[in-house]
Amino acid sequence: MGDGGVFAACQEVGGDLAEVDWAATPLGPPREWPQSLQTAVSILLSSRFPMWMAWGEELTFFCNAAYRRDTLGRKYPWALGRPASEVWSEIWGDIGPRIEAVLGTGRATWDEALLLFLERSGYTEETYHTFSYSPLRDDAGEVVGMLCVVNEDTERVIGERRMATLRDLGSDPSVIRTEQEVLAFVHRQLSRNLKDLPFTLTYLFDGDEARLAGTTGVTPGTPVAPRSLPVGGPGGVWPVWELAEGETRVIPLAEASFGPLPVGDWPESPLQALVVPLLRQGGAPYGFLVAALNRYRDLDDHYRGFVELTAGHIASGIGSARSYQAQQRRAEELAELDRAKTTFFSNISHELRTPLTLIMGPVEELRTRLSGAGEEVHAELDVIHRNGLRLGKLVNTLLDFSRLEAGRMQARYEPVELAAVTAELASVFRSAVERAGLTLDVDCPALDEPVYVDRAMWEKVVLNLLSNALKFTFEGAVRVRVRRSGPDAVVVVADTGTGVPETEMPRLFERFHRIENARARSHEGSGIGLALVRELVGLHGGTIDAESTEGVGTTFTLRIPFGTAHLPADSVVSEPDGGAAGATADPYVHEAFRWLPTSEPAPADDGGPREVGAAAVVPGAGPAYSARVLVADDNADMREYLARLLAAAGYRVTEVTDGVEALAAARRRTPDLVVSDVMMPRLDGLELVSRLRADPRTASVPVLLLSARAGQEASIEGLRAGADDYLVKPFAAAELLARVRANVELARLRDHHLRWRTALIDSLQEAFFVCDESGTVVEINAAFTDILGYGPEGLPYAPVHPWWPHAPADPGAYEQVGDAFARLLQSPRGSYTVPVTHRDGHRLWVAVNFNKAEDPNTGRGVTVGTFRDVTAEHYAVQRETALAALSTSLSRAADLPEALSAGLHVLRSLWHARVVVAAVFGGGDTPALTATDATLRWEDLPAARREALTALRDRPSLTVVAEDSGAGVLLEHPESPMVVWVDLEGHRPFGSEDQLLLSLLAGHLAQGLGRAHQIDQQRETAIALQRAILGPARLPEGFAVRYEPATRPLEVGGDWYDTVTLPDGRIGIVVGDCVGRGLEAASVMGQLRSACRALLLQDPSPARTLTALDQFAAGVAGAICTTVFCGVLEPGSGELTYSSAGHPPGILVHPDGSSRLLEDGRALPLAVRPGRARPEATCSLPARATLLLYTDGLVERRRRPLSAGMEQAGEAVKEGREMPVEDLATAVMSRLAPAGGYDDDVALLLYRHPAPLEMIFPAESSQLAPVRRALRGWLDQCDLPPTTVQNVLVAAGEACANAIEHGHRHTPGEDVRLRAEALVDTLRVTVADSGRWRVPQRGRNTHRGRGISLMHALMQEVTVAPGPSGTTVDMQMRIA
């Protein structure tokens, strides 16, 4: 692999990694890197999660692109290839011990939101990281580095901290307080966050100076916090002038003028302060906030926004407090105004009366003085006089109105010729009536007695009735009739007008009651006329009744009692004051003329006391800003009237004709106020209110209902429906405007809190939602939309919510969300983590916290919840778990196939896959298939799947290919490329996170397989090596040896045996055991064995050999504490000299079964005390005794004394002492093997004395004597009686003679083999040749027959076995 190949997984960082001078690092050039490092780097670079890793002795630093982006900052690319301790020197105190722990223990670490001060952005930065260090292992499985998966939490931690401060600021339950209280509360809250706001100063403008109104984290009066600053110039420490202009400024704090600065919660003082004006809507700022900034954070938009939100809250708090104070002042002013108004009316009446008096007096004089003048002069004087009087009456009437309202009406009842007075009043209307095309029919014959009436009141009664009749009559006549009826005078005013609907009749005289939609000459009018009439009639002790038929006409009948008995005595006068009638009538007539279609001007054009005057009563110059008012009324006149009124007052008005349109308009654009009639077609006002309240977008819009229906019940009904105010028609324009203004102001105040709340909720980094009782989501914030993709336009979201996982595609996830949702509905509070689906379809994991609350408006239960996106954490945990599971499985595997199978099972259970298969594409036609379903073969796979798997071979390795039915990846199997396929059967989507995870696991699997493969190979190599160097290729006769490696997965060890034939014919015997396992131990063993062999050949003394070996071992790493048994055997005599370096004693078993231990000659293991002389012992091996030498693996067992194992070994030899040593060795090994095999390696050496005699000689008679001599010598070692020796000699000689004579008659010189072996009670001799001969008849007469007979006679058992390759004569004799 070239240098670039390792880094190919990522162009961005890979390119820079390739530039690093690796040869200068301890890791060396990349092409020489071990596979494990290459794999680790490749995984690192291909991951989209922020990761870094460190490898090797210097912990050389690597990172990927995500880590560079999120964390490394300006240290890139400098950091690549440097020691990690240098890269992160500033936090090495924090992370160094963690890394040491990982390297030391091999266990991963986990830290959540750990505060680290990084130097990556050019300044010391406050950061929080959640990270895990996990160990990286080299090809031999040693921990040589570590991998760090990081999730930076800085934004979240700091965001939550700032959010908490903003939340606390908004948590004050009392809305309106004094300015001092507001400031005290604010500073209490700000002083709890000295991290983001190490210190703050709040200055308020107060005339020419800015006054320090509050501080946190700093003492008032210190140089940085002067108690007051001049506004006018550059005099103070803070730039007051710019701030007064509303500018925000960043002020460096390094200047000396600030003096020593407070540090807040940090070790060092802040470097900057952000100075923010406390803005007032439509005015100069209230003051400004100085916020010292956390020097460990950059002043980014979030930070600036936080400080500005804080300042905004302070400003609004001050605004509320001041506006509350202003309102209090205004209330006091209004009371004052009321008092002033009363005074005004009294005064103005007086003021008017004075000039009137000054007019009337001279007129009277002129009329007297000019009594002789012409008629015309008199007539004009009369006009002046009459109108003067009328004006005087008008003034008095104005006063009467206020008296009536105040209940202080002063009546003056005088005896009146009622018919005449009434007729006169009627005649005033004549011209107007006639101009309207009607006839006025006055039928007022004089009554026989006067009626006591207050003339002014009576005029109002009659004029109102006449005015009313003219207003509603379009053709026919108006009749006025006066009669006597018993004790009453009866006055009837009748018309032929439109009439009054029967349903309206009972309320005809109600105050302010108007008949809606009646056809009339005008819709103007106060609606007070008939009510006033009835009150006035009532004051006279009379009654008024009405009869009406729609389309026919209306008749009012008044009954006034005669006499004075029904009147208060103090108000009755006996003399009429003689004033002219009709003075009050003029305004009525003027008004009536103005209803008429003629263009002829009305008698006066001043407009009369109508709404215009009322409009002027509205205090102030209009609304502070142009509020939007939505007017809903089906009556066009009313609608226009309202629109005109409101527009004139400065509101922006939208008109709609019914409730449905109103609802649509309000939803389209939320108005500041809705003014709506109650009675409307399609959707009435009450229903409109409840619909508006039900929709979160319009729930807070104030609604002012207008209704024709008076009375408390109606207004309660309206308010209950949720209306903010209720106004009964007819209403005064001033009253309407006052109420509109009040509601808009109130809403604005309320809206301010709402906007504050919305801003607060929207600035939460966690998603926020509110559910109603059914689980329908009715409110969300911006973060909710950011995380899930579902915005407020789709509200409400009823369950099943659209972000639930798709049930058919992923039933498990769907069920999980369903369970959590049920909990959310039932529990008072809780939290859970669930999978959800983003609007664009991708999978997310969110951690939800929820709480039950009560909606203060409706009293109904709601669920308020927040959640955050924990997808990254979820997958990080899943990844850690999966990696751990995979590592565990792989480490348990004893060999490569087992490792692969274990790995596939991990993948299968992780994804709940149907099956996971791995195809290894070796040389053959058919790939080797391994599957979680053991019976599955390559041929069983569908053809399409086989093709897909084959195609994956062409993909880059560790690149996951996902399909509907699953996902596949190519990775390096130690033998050939391997494709792994996870078959999900389309049960669930295989998302990008799954792909990343599979890629990661595939990398680990490849590494694990490589390791397993290497272990396999090493083990095999070591065993082969060990066997190769263990002992001599040919053992001397009489010996048997065994070597057994420990059971898998344990490795070979350092045990050995050796025999050395010394020049003097003696035999050196060595059995040893090096400490440790594996190739290393094997190589130490090889060196010791060779050295021991050489030493023995040089000086055949066991003690001296071991003493010399001590010196040698001291120089060989890993040789110390090796135990060795070294002996020198005289094979003829069985004399054994030996010395033991801490080795378990040999066991000698005698022919009779008794045994002894070779315990003498013992000293320390090798190299423990080099230079010390070693002891030596001698032992004589009896004939046919068996010597057992061994290493401790044979006898050492857990929880069992060594002596027990030795006893067992001795017993095994005793029982097998009749067997040939070769068979005995096998028997001992299997007899002592533990159930699961040897868990340590074992070397074993057996010697039976004497050694069997083995001779090969040419088939020549001359060989017989030397063979015989040798056999005799051997037989002498066997400790046998002379006769037996002679018999065996003869029998063997006969067999040899046979072989020479018959077996090789035609091929003299071929080999004949003789073997003699002494077992404990049997002597056995075999003679074999390579020829074929018939067995001669036993008999005396033939020479050969005699030989066979001798053999049979001398030996106990003789068999002659002819075979294709020769003939073997086997003879045995019992010797015990």
Binding site: S1262, T1283, Q1286, A1297, R1340, H1343, R1346, G1347
Partner: protein, 103 residues
């Protein structure tokens, strides 16, 4: 290398022929013995006291002259002579009393 065999002819006090044999007798040198026996006639005392080994090849030579031989054998050779049946044909000295009585 031939098997060491020494043949020493002589006369006994009564003039009977006497052959002292020492060494080992096997097929390699049985011919020498046969030659020595064939060269004479009449009774002959063969003294095998010095013989350490005697196999069927030697026995066959002795069987061929059994009628004129008297044998003096060491205990070591007795089993061979007995087993081969030669002891039944010739007078064997040095055997146990039983052998003599067969005479």
């Amino acid at each position: 290398m031939t098997t060491p065999l020494t043949l020493t002819p002589g006369r006994g006090p009564d003039g009977t022929g006497h052959l002292a044999v020492s060494g080992e007798i096997d097929m390699s040198n049985a011919g020498d013995l046969a030659e020595a026996l064939d060269s004479g006639s009449g009774p002959l005392v063969v003294d095998l006291t010095g013989v350490e080994y005697l196999d069927s090849a030697g026995l066959s030579v002795l069987f061929a002259h059994a009628e004129r031989l008297e044998l003096i054998v060491p205990p070591l050779l007795e089993p061979v002579l007995t087993v081969s049946g030669l002891a039944d044909l010739v007078t064997v000295h040095g055997l146990g009393g039983e052998a003599g009585s067969r005479q």
